[in-house]
Symmetry: C2
Subunit: 134 residues, 2 copies
DNA sequence: TGAAACTTAAACACTTTTCGTTAACATTCG
DNA sequence: CGAATGTTAACGAAAAGTGTTTAAGTTTCA
């Protein structure tokens, strides 16, 4: 049984960073260049992002596809649309309009510009009314 | 920006399994052997395990090491011990005795036999009284 | 402005993972 | 028992990940 995604090097750097050390200080301690510390730290946070994304996928396995938020749609139209779709299948959405918009923004910032959707977003929902955007 | 840990092949197999298909049925659909489906499914769950472990590590970054639950200790002694240690550092544990024992069992089943600890368990706690076992 | 902190990109050697095959072994159930 | 299902081990090829250096680029802030 292997470890998590992070290498010992990456964990080491994250711990030192947590303590508030600069990349140069860490480089001195672990005997390498600050550029390398930067790269290690970066790949560490990338690994963490991937770990999150992996578990997010599991979530879609439990969830049902609710609808597609089409490109060009206005952010303000989305909440009513999702509520309506959820009602069709008898599930109550867990989020109010504001939280819902924030949740979409957090999940897929790259598909939104200003108030408009640039690229289709798939919306999933589970029995508890939790939403996932993929 | 790369995807999560799971390959398309692995996601595919997990989706079919979620639908209740056997490994042989999936093998026929995706044109490979059932042995390969088994291997793919296994590496998928392994990747999921690693994703979880990675995020668990992040948790320990926020948390402080509270104490070590030594090998040979009785499960029933653990809760009072942890409460006592937490009190020393002025943190209130979030879990009652029953939940605490269940939490340990879930986190490290392989280190417990019947009522006894087989192998040392490190206990971490954060400001909110959340516990982590590693 | 100038120094320190941080980021990025390309290239390299090296290790690990993944997908696939084959073939044997284990489990479950009618 | 026998058939279907699932698991495991060993191996190869292709792909991806890791740590490192070097060298250039930002950002931050006194």
């Amino acid at each position: 049984m292997k470890d998590g995604l992070l290498t010992d090097r990456q964990k080491e750097v994250l711990r030192f960073r947590k303590q508030g050390l600069t990349q140069q200080q860490i480089a001195d301690i672990i005997h390498t260049s600050k550029a390398n510390v930067c790269t290690i730290e970066k790949s560490a946070t990338e690994n963490i992002r991937r770990a999150r994304e992996t578990l997010d996928f599991l979530y879609t396995l439990d969830a049902t596809h609710l609808c597609t938020v089409g490109s060009g749609m206005d952010l303000l139209e989305i909440a009513p649309f999702i509520y309506q779709e959820a009602e069709k299948i008898g599930v109550k959405v867990k989020y109010d309009t504001i939280s819902l918009i924030n949740k979409i923004r957090d999940a897929t910032p790259e598909r939104i510009r200003a108030r408009y959707i640039k690229e289709d977003i798939e919306v999933y929902i589970n029995d508890e009314g939790d939403l996932y955007f993929g």
